[in-house]
């Protein structure tokens, strides 16, 4: 196991909070192969990159079957807000059939969504926003700052 941890308590806390959503969708499950925890810490005091990944690039068996549209590929997903009047335009454009009307309200089946964002572009009322899957800090690397 290789651990290079260099992070303040508050930064770790922030990391934990932002990891919640990412963990939910990530097919790169933490494994028993040995895990690298990399906390990089730059001079301006911001925790830049924190991702937990196995040493050997791998995913839990069955990840693809569980997520037919390949959630490991998706970088964003739609969120529908109150401006929606159920006009169903989005359901016509969605290439995966992920947007459906259920009991009078359009909603997204995230297991099918591939994150293309066509719905958000086509929505006449701008009622759909695309939300990034990975909510952590942006991936900016500095090999000097990581010792």
């Amino acid at each position: 196991m290789i651990i290079f941890a260099h992070c303040t308590r508050s930064a770790q806390k922030g990391f934990g909070a932002s990891l919640g959503r990412w963990e939910k969708y990530c097919s790169h499950e933490l494994t028993a192969l040995g895990m690298i925890v990399a906390f990089t810490y730059l001079k301006r005091g911001r925790c830049i990159l924190v991702k937990n990944l196995p040493v050997v690039p791998s995913a839990k068996a069955g990840s693809m079957a569980e997520n037919p549209s390949g959630i490991s590929w998706r970088e964003q997903h739609p969120e529908i807000n109150t401006a929606c009047n159920n006009c169903l335009v989005c359901t016509l454009f969605c290439p995966e059939g992920a947007l459906v009307e259920q009991s009078g309200q359009v909603s997204a089946i995230l297991n099918l969504c591939n994150g293309c964002g066509t719905c958000a572009v086509e929505c006449p009322r701008k009622a759909i926003t695309m939300v990034a899957e990975y909510q952590g800090a942006p991936g900016v690397f500095s090999s000097k700052g990581c010792k």
């Binding site: 990530c26 097919s27 990944l53 050997v56 690039p57 791998s58 068996a61 693809m64 490991s72």
Partner: protein, 383 residues
């Protein structure tokens, strides 16, 4: 107790693998690497080594089988050269990306076309971006010792290692080699088994990775390579203490005290260069030798330290990166850039088995001193 015997470079690699108690050997025969396979299969036949020998249909499969065996947690070894290494290339990158400690002996041979079976470093240099640790050996004793060390480096950094020695010049030449006792090697090299495959916890290995994660994996791979800079030195020092032979880790300075002119070499040239440097020193010339043992990771800091007071650098490359120059020459210039301005004369020599012995080394050193002021990207010697 010393047990000195006459061994070729390939046999030395085989003895190294045997001492490391390899569990899987997968191999496809190719000249001039095949004697290593012959020797290991003899060990297996004689009951001296308990190893699963996987006979495959090509070099690509050879490394693929080695990779699979390594993922299952076994200590794995293979041997190749030249076209075989190129054929493996896809799996070479897989092995590094999947962080498997496979050790591969490479009997360096020129690349086709035109077809050649003679020595140079072109095959190894073609894989310099692959993420493998690349160590170059000077003589057959170093081939054996480096093979043993390679497993320790590989397993501690979770990175594959290439042990390079030149075809024929080393692979088919007998030299006195001290074969250490098995018990001492066992002590030096305990098994550090990390199995990626587990029947109770099935995993998809090498799954499709989104832009969210690919770069992070690569970042960590590079971090491991940085860690190898320390590991190679530590393992070499430990080996030196245990077996009395210190191969000085990443890089070695020979007669570099008060030297004004430094000559850089890799592989078998180094032995010849030592003779020439000794002779020049006797004649009062302030020339020193730098042997680059680890080409990947490249020991930038250690090299700059050795070149701190040098007035002229001559780099000898048994390889050519077309349109750019000798690989070691380019690395040396890149290392020195921003450190200090010093003329670097880069020579491409001895390609495809062209003679490059002590006489030629002497000539190229004189030529470099004569033309020290003439700026060129690189020059050819011995056409």
């Amino acid at each position: 107790m010393m047990s000195v015997t006459l061994l070729t470079g390939s046999e030395a690699a085989a003895y190294g693998a045997k001492l490391a108690r390899i569990e899987v050997l997968s191999y496809y025969p190719i000249t001039p690497a095949f004697p290593a396979m012959e020797k290991i299969s003899k060990f297996i036949e004689d009951g001296e080594l308990k190893t699963e020998f996987v006979r495959v249909e090509c070099d690509h499969s050879a490394l693929a089988a080695a990779l699979g065996a390594s993922l299952a947690g076994s200590r794995t070894f293979t041997v190749t050269t030249s076209q075989g290494l190129l054929y493996m290339t896809e799996v070479v990158y897989h092995t590094a990306g999947l962080r498997q400690p496979v050790v591969m002996a490479v009997a360096n041979r020129a690349l086709s076309a035109p077809h050649s079976r003679f020595p140079e470093h072109g095959d190894a240099i073609s894989q310099d971006a692959s993420g493998w640790i690349q160590l170059f050996c000077e003589n057959n004793q170093e081939v054996l010792d480096t093979t043993v060390q390679a497993f320790k480096i590989a397993e501690s950094c979770r990175l594959p290692v290439m042990v390079n020695y030149e075809g024929y010049i080393q692979s088919h030449t007998l030299e006195e080699v001290d074969v250490p006792e098995q018990g001492r090697v066992d002590e030096f090299l305990p098994f550090m088994r990390v199995s990626a495959l587990d029947v109770n916890n099935p995993q998809g290995i090498n799954t499709v990775t989104s832009p969210d994660f690919y770069m992070d994996y690569k970042y960590r791979q590079n971090e491991a390579m940085q860690q190898a800079l320390e590991s190679i030195n530590t393992v070499a020092a430990d080996f030196g203490r245990e077996f009395g032979r210190d191969w000085s880790g990443l890089i070695e300075g020979y007669r570099m005290d008060d030297a004004e002119h430094a000559v850089l070499t890799m592989g078998s040239m180094t032995g010849n260069a030592r003779i020439v440097i000794d002779e020049l020193r006797e004649n009062g010339k302030k020339v020193g030798l730098i042997k680059v043992r680890s080409f990947r990771p490249f020991p930038r800091e250690a090299l700059c330290k050795l070149l701190k007071n040098i007035k002229l650098v001559t780099v000898l490359d048994k390889n050519i990166v077309f349109g750019a120059g000798g690989a070691l020459g380019m690395e040396t210039k890149a290392a020195l850039f921003g450190f200090r301005a010093v003329p670097v004369k880069s020579y491409v020599v001895g390609l495809g088995g062209r003679d490059f012995g002590p006489q030629e080394i002497k000539k190229v050193i004189a030529l470099s001193e004569e033309n020290a002021d003439r700026e060129t990207a690189f020059e050819w010697f011995g056409l």
